[in-house]
């Protein structure tokens, strides 16, 4: 009897512990749910915006700058910092572009140039976590007809603004007007920021893997997620080509293993076929390459080693094949070196 009681006690203790553990998990779940509240079911006061400054408030007061400033540039407003939770408060619908690319923090502030009383500029410093993420948002927004700047590998300016990549930071400095005075203060601010902000070089080795012939300058883009409408495609580098008056796109992506690259190639092919694509017989010197006609354009998809690659939006099958073969040869020649440098 004594033995039975001991056994029962152990069993009861075990069951009790299990029940208590489950209750603790439920309590933890409730607390987590409370911390991720649904704004739609909260009290009204909690939903309302923070109290605002009065429009008739006092003139701008002196503020501290979040970065060292060149001579003649002074803070105009206080520093603002945004995280993933409230980034859209600052940039509204463009927040998704940054969030999908790994955004961690935005620091921004407005500055005035003492030499031009009516000129102010706003600096946006996006911390994207790493240089690849930063390149993604830099390349996705690259302005055409811009002027390249020598201060960084990836930097350009337009009549009123400067955009650049500095390590894991994507930086925008936007001036309030266009005049002869704008470019210099904006450039000075960028240079000062770079000097005072240590960052690793933002190397984008995939650039070397795209064939140079007929490549449209500065057309390379890194798509972080959902490339070409396919949710399985992430971290896809694309580049535009101009062939006989037609534009077409080449793309590539390094995957963790050759098997993953091959499987993703197959999955994307299935996706294209599901959306009306038709298999086209093509004689390509690329193992397992697939050629598909869709929406009156031609696509080629293939893998080589750990690289997934392909051609999109070709007007003719010849154009698609020619570029696919060039891309394939570049991957054979330089694919290994490109990854080993990273």
């Amino acid at each position: 009897m004594l033995r039975e009681n001991k056994n029962n006690s152990r069993r009861q203790t075990f069951v009790s512990m299990v029940i208590l553990s489950i209750l603790m998990v439920i309590v933890a779940g409730i607390f987590m749910a409370q911390s991720h509240f649904n704004p739609g079911v909260l009290q009204k006061d909690e939903l309302l915006p923070e109290p605002n400054q009065d429009l008739t408030s006092a003139p701008w007061s002196p503020h501290a700058s979040f970065v060292p400033l060149p001579e003649g540039i002074q803070p105009f407003t206080s520093t603002e910092i945004f995280d993933a939770r409230n980034l859209s408060d600052k940039i509204n619908g463009k927040a998704e572009l940054y969030l999908s690319a790994g955004f961690t923090r935005l620091t921004c502030q407005r500055f005035k140039d003492e030499r031009a009383t009516d000129l102010w500029m706003e600096a946006f410093v996006y911390d994207m976590g790493n240089s690849q993420n930063a390149f993604s948002v830099f390349s996705a927004q690259r302005r055409k007809d811009s002027e390249a700047l020598g201060l960084a590998q990836h930097a350009y300016r337009t009549p009123n603004a400067l955009f650049m990549l500095h390590g894991r930071y994507y930086v925008e400095i936007i001036a309030s007007k266009v005049s002869g005075q704008v470019p210099e203060p904006v450039k000075m601010m960028a240079e000062t920021f770079m000097r005072n902000t240590p960052a690793e070089a933002a190397a984008v080795n995939e650039a070397e893997l795209f064939p140079a012939k007929e490549l449209v300058k500065n057309s390379m883009v890194l798509i972080s997620s959902d490339a070409f409408g396919y949710d399985g495609f992430d971290k896809i580098y694309t580049a535009e080509y101009a062939v006989d008056g037609h534009s077409l796109m080449a793309y590539l992506s390094h995957r963790r293993t050759p098997v993953e690259a091959k499987e993703l190639t197959s999955a994307y092919t299935v996706f294209l076929l599901a959306y009306g694509g038709k298999n086209i017989a093509a004689q390509l010197p690329i193992k397992d390459a697939r050629c598909i006609e869709i929406l009156d354009t031609y696509e080629i998809v293939f893998s080589h080693g750990s690289y997934l690659a392909g051609i999109r939006e070709a007007a003719t099958i010849d154009q698609a094949q020619t570029l696919a073969i060039r891309l394939y040869h570049r991957l054979k020649e330089g694919g290994h070196e490109a990854r080993s440098e990273q």
Binding site: V41, K44, L47, N52, D89, K90, I91, G93, K94, S176
Partner: protein, 330 residues
């Protein structure tokens, strides 16, 4: 079934005692849950009306009209567009209290075309007063630092210089609202109070590319009436735009496509994002106006599902040709 009291060390009395205790514990837990359960949801404050809706500001006599005027001078094209629709007097009568819903979403200079251009705010305010309006109010809810947004865009000065009152989105201007048949705007804080004493509403939006919705035009402009953590609606952007268009029945909408943001919207940031499309669109059918705006952005209606959804909801027509829009050039 008969329990063997020796099989697990429990006798019948112990078993019944434990059963009763467990029953009491479960009943107590259920009672506590029932006690804490709030079947009504968040309570309304004493100022809140449970069935708040915005009045219908559309003008029956004006019908469904639209005007498209081409030209570089946005004030001149705006004036001509209104004239072609019968003049400002068609929309504004003596004594009207007018609300101009502008886009002041960002604290960026007017030259970037991310916000409603100050020049047409001044012009529209003057036109309203010239038609006999008793008051003109200019408002929007930019969320982040509204004072800077209204100041640095030039909107505040433009409105005040013409005699309009600028209304910043203070806390007490919001009320929870539910739009009939809506799935998203339910008991959600809306910038309601500025509409309380208003007789005419005019939406004034710039034409912009938009990363999430494809385009920001007159229907998307109502997004600035939402309070709270409205960014969650970005996950269902086309439906929220449709519901906003269901919520606001304006007297008139103005889509300024004099300089349009073709890329990198809605913030832009560079003059190279802009294109001089030199067009002013004014109309009473916000769906039709947006459908035409889409063509200026080079986008098909398939790329902007909110237009088709708004048409399906009966808000207006995406086939703007059926309105026989008045067209003119300056």
């Amino acid at each position: 079934m008969k329990l063997d009291p020796n099989s697990n060390g429990l006798n019948r009395r112990q078993f019944l005692d434990r059963l009763a205790q467990a029953g009491i514990a479960i009943t107590a837990a259920c009672a506590a849950g029932f006690w804490f359960h709030d079947s009504q949801g968040p309570a309304l404050s004493k100022n809140d009306h449970p069935n708040l809706i915005l009045p219908d500001f559309s003008i029956d006599a004006a019908g469904h009209k639209m005007s498209i005027v081409r030209g570089e001078d946005r004030v001149a094209t705006l004036r001509m567009a209104l004239k072609s629709l019968g003049g400002i007097e068609t929309f504004i009568k003596k004594g009207d209290r007018v609300l101009l819903k502008v886009n002041a979403a960002f604290a960026s200079p007017a030259m970037l075309s991310a916000t409603t251009h100050p020049a047409i705010i001044t012009a529209m305010t003057q036109l309203c007063f010239s038609a006999g309006a008793a008051s003109v109010v200019v408002t929007d809810n930019p969320i982040n630092d509204p004072a800077s947004c209204f100041n640095l865009t030039g909107i505040a000065d433009a409105a005040r210089s013409a005699g309009a009152r600028v209304l910043l989105p203070h806390d007490d201007l919001f009320r929870p609202m539910t739009v009939k048949d809506a799935k998203l705007i339910r008991n959600w804080p809306v910038l309601y109070k500025p509409f309380a004493d208003i007789t005419k509403v005019i939406g004034m939006a710039p034409l912009k590319d938009h990363h999430r919705s494809g385009a920001s035009m007159t229907m998307k402009n109502w997004y600035g009436l939402l309070g709270g953590r409205r960014n969650i609606f970005h996950q269902d952007i086309h439906n929220i735009i449709m519901e906003l268009a269901m919520m606001v029945k304006p007297s008139l909408v103005i889509l300024d496509a004099t300089t349009s943001m073709m890329t990198n919207g809605p913030t832009g940031g560079s003059l190279s994002d802009l294109k001089n499309t030199n067009t002013m669109i004014v109309g009473t059918d916000q769906v039709a106006v947006d459908a035409f705006g889409a063509s200026l952005l080079g986008k098909s209606l398939d790329e902007l599902p909110f237009i088709g959804k708004a048409q399906a909801a009966g808000i207006g027509t995406a086939d703007y040709h059926t309105l026989n829009p008045v067209t003119a050039s300056i």
